[in-house]
Every structure is written in C-alpha cells, then in structure tokens.
Symmetry: C2
Subunit: 403 residues, 2 copies
DNA sequence: TTTAGCAGTCAATTTTAGTGAGTGCTAATT
DNA sequence: AATTAGCACTCACTAAAATTGACTGCTAAA
C-alpha cells in the first residue's frame, strides 16, 4: 500500500483537527470541515489504510482516529508551515531584549516566562558554563583583618567571588604578591586544565604562603566544580495542568515531579537534544517578514522508510506550488545544525515524558551554553511554538552579534 | 453552652482522625477508635454542640463532621504535642548542615528540598538582603582595555560584581584613585542612604572622572535595587497534587500558578508572617531530646473569646498532667517572638490559598533575612511539620552562633 | 444524664436504558 | 476499478433510577 497524496491530505486534516480539539476525529468531521471532494465512506477507507500504515490509531472500535507518534513525526517533519508571530508577541519579545539585565540568570528567567506565556506550555531552560573557559585574572582583597575576598575573572567577563576566613592576619601586600604569582601560574589555563597535579605543583612553588594558599586553591577547585553544574529553570508549570491529556492527577504529578528533580530533568533535556536517529532537526531558515510564506522548515534528517517516501511526496507537492523546500543531507549541515531546533515526540523522550513532545533549542553564547525547551502534550501547537521560539532565537543571535 | 473537658477530647479525636483520613468523622468511628467510655449517642450530642460552637462542620446532613477553621485554630493553639523527629530525619538534617556551601542560595535550595521531603508538603523559602547593610569596600579592577570590574563588598562578606564596558581606556592607577575616593564617600553608608542626592553630590565632587564615574554610580544604584528584591524558591510542588482536597485540577492549577508568580507569592508570604490578630505564634521552646515529652508549644497570643475559654481548660488539663504549658502575654514576648513560628489556617491566608495552612518561620541571619514556609492542606500534619521545622531552626541557630 | 433504638437523610455507587458518533462491510453506481 | 450510499454493529458517554450505607436527630427508657 502506498502513501499517496490524498492520504497525506487526510492525515494532515486529522492531525490539525486533533491538535485543536483533543477529540478523536471521525470521517464525517473531515468531510464537513475540509473540502476534499470525497465522501465520508472514501475517507473512511483511507483512514483504515492510514491506520494500517501506522500513522493513525483508534482509542476504541467506535471512535474516530487519533495520530500515532509516527503520524506526528511525519507531520512535524513534513507538514509544518511557518505561522507569523503576532505583533503583540513581537512587541513583548522586543521589550525583553531591550531591557538591560544585571545577570544572565535573570534574563533567562524572564525569557522562559515570556516563552511560556506566548506558547501556553511549560518552558525549561538550562544553563552551564563552558569547561573551556580560562582564568583571566585573580584578585585577592583584604576586607577584614581575618577575611579575604577572592575575585576570579574568567573569559568573557564572568566573575566569581569567594570569601574566606583565615586565622592569621595578612597584609594587602602579601595578598597582592600571592595573587600575582597565581595569575602567572594560572594564566590562560582553562577550567579543565586545573587539576590535582597543577594545584600540588603550585602549592610546592609557593610553599611559604601555604596557610593562605591552601584554602585559596581549594576554593578555586570547588568553584570549578560548581561552575560545571548545569542550572535549570522551569516556567509555566501550571500550564501542564490545563490539558485534557493530563487530567489524570497522577500523570500531572509525575510531570511536575520530573521538573523539580534536577537529575531527571538533566536526563530529559540531554535526551531532548540528542541528535540520534529519532527526533527531527529543523534548520533556522532566515525568515524575513517579506517572504514569510516561502519560509518553510528545511528537512535535515529522516528516520523511517515510510516517512522518506512520504517526504518525497510532500516535497514534490510543495515544489509544485513554488515553495523553497529542499532536502539537505545530514552531512552538509553538520556544522550549522548545532544551533538548530530539535523536536522529540512521545516515546522518543525519557519514559517519564512519554506523553509529551519537547521542542529544544541549544544556545551557545560562547561563555555560557544551555538550552531552551518547550514541553507540551504530543498534540501541541508545533507551528506557533516553533515560530515564537524562532523569533526569540533570532533576537538572541542579533544581540549576541552586538555584544 | 460551655466547652468542657469531654467536648475538647472529642474535638481532638475528630481532628486527629480527620487529619489522617481526610474523611468526615462520624460518632461511631470515635466510639470505636478512642476509648472515651461513652456511647455514640452521647458523642453525637456533643458533636452537635461542637458544631453549634463553631468548631465543627458538616459537609452535608448525613455525613460525619469535619473541623472548621476555628476548630483547627483551637487544635493548633492548644492541642499540639511535640513529636520527636525520626533519627533518619535527624541524620539528613545534620548532613545538610555539615556540608559546606559556596553560596547561601544553594544552601537554602537544599534546605527547602529536604524540608519538603521530610514533611511531604510544599516548601517555599524567601530571601532578601537587609536594607541596613552598609558598603564596606569598593574595588575597581581593569580586566581588559575597555572593561572594568566593579567589586562591591557589603557588610558580613556579601560581595557583588559588575562588569562595565567603557569607551576610553583607563589605567589601573586612575581606577584605584576613583575607588579610593568612592570608598571615602560611601564608607559606612547603608544601602538606603544611597539616594539621588548622595550620588549627584559625589558626581559633583569627582567631576573630572565623569565618564567613568557615571556608569559606576548607575550600576551601584541598580545593584541596590536588585539586592532589595526578594528571591523565592519552591520545593516539592508536586506534593500538593497528592492530597485529596486538591484532586480538583483547577484548585491544583491555581496553587501551582500561585507559587510561580512572584507577586502573588510575595503577598502570600507577607501575609503568612504578619502577626496580626489571626494566626498563632508559637515559641521555640528549647527542646532537649532528654525531656522531649514535656516540650510543648507555648501560647503567645489568642484570638477569640471561645478559644480563650478553651485555652484555659486545656492549659489546666495539661498542668494536671505535669506539663509545662504556660500562657505568655503578647507584650512579654515582643522581643523574642521575632524568630518564632507562625501558623495561618485557611481563610487567614490570601484568597488563593484559602484551603491551605501555612507554617512560617522568619529567619534572620543579620545580613540576609527571609522565611521558610511549609504549605499544606488545612488538615496537614502540624505536629510533624513543626517538629521538623524546629529541628532545622535549631541547627540554623547553632550554625549562626559558630560563624 | 446517658443510652438504646429507630426513622430519616443524602452522597456515593451501581444498574439500566438510551443516545449518537463512529466504524466496517456490501452492493450499487460511476 | 474506484467511489459512494446504505445499513448493521460497536461502544463510550449520559441521564435517570434504584440501591446502599454511613451518618444524623429525636424519643423514650434506663
């Protein structure tokens, strides 16, 4: 059996409908809402075929059809259109990016909240520092007879403070001397360069300052470990509770628990940006508002024979309509795909999130990396979510260029 | 009608039962479970009286009774016993307090998570800096030709960094000079002392450094505003979803939304530690493990004629049994009550949390203040929650003494 | 004052019947 | 050969009816 043009149209109609209503879609609904020029009986036959092909499912014998994971996959890979971001949303995004922030943390929090507000889904962002960062400058400042302030400046103006208490009194001169020596030793060393060997080496060299140096080096080591740890922020968790698929309180609890547990969250997000065989990567095609209608998502990788077939059909179909869709081989895109958007559907996620879809963008601000993930039900509004996310990414890229 | 001894016993039995089962409690249940030596008919009569007095309610005619807010109030004010913290919990608390933390933030997060785990309720902590803090030291460090690092040291070793980019190149000597002058001007000024007048004044005096000074003073002003803002952290939100009173998904969503909204959360917590007429304040009586059984909560303030009557009875009752409960007038305790635990029940909270009870402890670490709040259903396990909280507070106090 | 006993209440549960949106199959039509 | 009309069948969902049982309040006896 083949996945022909008409089948795809019907599938698309069903998925669109199901995304809106969350109710199984029947043949008569399709006949009435979409002018396909065929009777419900024919649609019924096609639906039976689509089910056999694995794109649709029936919750029970006398119900309409709902999309299977495979159905969503095809939809996401091939049928997504670019919807325009509302002017209101546009404004909110611009306002966010024009505001000045005292820390990246605060910015990311506001960003997450906004994205959640604009999509009505839960948004999780992660943030971790680049291990390749190097130490640029260390300062030791005497702020109290027995208190020393250690200021460590990393690449790209990241700064860390640590306060340490010492038993003996140390003059600022000595501290400056120690700092100078440390700067010499640690200059241009990256965080991962700083290991036990290096620290013992330094301790040897600066033996006479042992009492002060030891705690300082300990603190630096601690700090490095600390920097490594990713941080997470979740916005709009309550949104998850508004979808009919999560009325089962257990499901909801499971999900909220997942988002509160750093370890589980780590797994979830790592998985979400894996570019293994499942999951799509969509390219951030340049979307000027002038030629929006042509701004479709480019296909980077496909997963399944059937989907490949379908892809060919859909592509052909779109070309006929003078669209710019092109198939890009994985290799060609290796480099730029780093920053792309990935979409994981249902079972492609960790078991705890098997009823969700996750749209993830991996950002890289040189000194800080991380990701922005939108989590919703499988029948989430992919089009709007991706559009909003893309708008935000565009602003991020622009801003990055300016700084 | 009077609230006699037997009525109080029955009330206590009902509340204890309801806390465990979340089901309306009937007269026969009480007769069977508690050996009060009276028949269900008598209990029935007493229950009718208790309802008339406002301590109990009936969800519907043919149901058992549940406690009213007033009933809980009496229970919390007068009937709470001190339960011992389990050795396992004890250990977890000790582990937490023995761990070293690089920031108070991280410590408070772990603390919240632990408290949530030990109580099975949601825990919210807030944290804000004392406006009375003064600036101890300002350092300006040249980290790049056009980049200056501003390090501000506040009282009690709080340190803030800010990086600023300037157009012209400035030598470290000039920076040090500016820093020295700033230190002179700002020495011992508290955060609230630093206003527009003072900054314009400084700008006048140091006119020749205008280009560098202006952004620096702006940043300091920004920083002060930033410091003022309280921060919140919520742990164990998913716990809220496990109580039968919140099976209604709307209720649950409302609550989780509340905890995600900084403004609403602010109101909630401010209200929770108000010591206006409603709400109890319990004193942290010294709880040595040796005389745990006598370690009851002291009553500081009461709210209602009926409750006062009841209080007298309960107190008398407990004295007979050689307990240490004593009534303390509000005035006598003005000073120490700062650090006490307050309990808000149902309608005493902001409307959004009217079905919850909130146990709050206001901590004060000199440089940082804030609160720790446990939020659960009105029929929450006050005894365990308070015991665990008290154990944590004790550890905090001890640690504070050591630093 | 207490208690046994009984009639009455009402939420919750179970049962029953009815409805309607949906299907699959078949035979007629294009 | 593909499409469609028509029909029997399925089954979740709903509303109404019947049943259950955990309560109460009241009364009269102890």
């Amino acid at each position: 059996m083949e996945l022909d043009d008409r089948k795809i149209k019907i599938l698309e109609a069903i998925i669109d409908d199901y995304i809106k209503t969350a109710e199984p879609v029947g043949s008569r609904t399709i006949e009435k809402k979409h002018e396909l020029g065929i009777s419900s009986a024919t649609i019924r036959n096609e639906m039976a075929d689509l089910e056999e092909l694995g794109f649709l499912m029936q919750p029970h014998t006398s119900a309409g059809r709902i999309p299977s994971d495979k159905g969503y996959r095809l939809y996401v890979d091939e049928m997504l259109k670019n919807s325009k971001v509302s002017t209101k949303a546009r404004k909110q995004i611009d306002t966010l990016f024009n505001k000045t922030y005292s820390s990246l943390d605060n910015f990311m929090k506001d960003l997450s909240n906004l994205l959640s507000e604009l999509t009505n889904y839960t948004v999780i962002t992660s943030k971790y520092s680049d291990r390749g960062l190097s130490i640029k400058n260390i300062q030791l400042i005497n702020i109290d007879p027995n208190t020393i302030l250690l200021v460590t400046v990393l690449d790209k103006s990241q700064v860390k403070n640590n306060v340490l208490h010492v038993n003996e009194q140390v003059s600022q001169e000595v501290l400056t001397a120690i700092a100078d020596l440390l700067n010499e030793e640690l200059d241009n060393k990256t965080l991962s360069d700083i290991n036990l060997d290096l620290t013992t080496n330094i301790k040897m060299k600066l033996g006479k300052y042992k009492n002060i140096l030891d705690p300082i080096l300990d603190i630096i080591t601690d700090m490095i470990n600390e920097i490594d740890k990713p941080e997470y922020y979740a916005a709009g968790m309550n949104n998850i509770l508004s979808f009919p698929e999560f009325t089962d309180i257990k499901q909801a609890r499971n999900l909220i628990g997942l988002m509160e547990d750093k370890t589980m969250l780590g797994n979830l997000l790592t998985n979400a940006m894996d570019n293994n065989d499942d999951g799509t990567k969509v390219n951030l095609s340049d979307s000027d508002d002038d030629n929006d209608d042509n701004d479709d998502l480019n296909i980077i990788e496909l997963t399944d024979e059937d989907i490949k077939d379908a892809s060919a059909i859909v592509s052909k179909n779109k070309k006929d309509k003078n669209s710019k869709v092109k198939k890009v081989s994985k290799k060609d895109n290796k480099k730029e795909s780093n920053n792309d958007i990935s979409i994981k559907i249902g079972d492609e996620n960790v078991p705890n999130a098997k009823d969700c879809s996750i749209i993830t963008y991996k950002y890289d601000l040189d000194d800080t990396k991380g990701q922005i993930s939108i989590i919703g039900p499988k029948r989430m509004d992919y089009e709007n979510s991706i559009s909003v996310l893309k708008a935000i990414i565009k602003s991020m890229e622009t801003k990055k260029g300016n700084t």
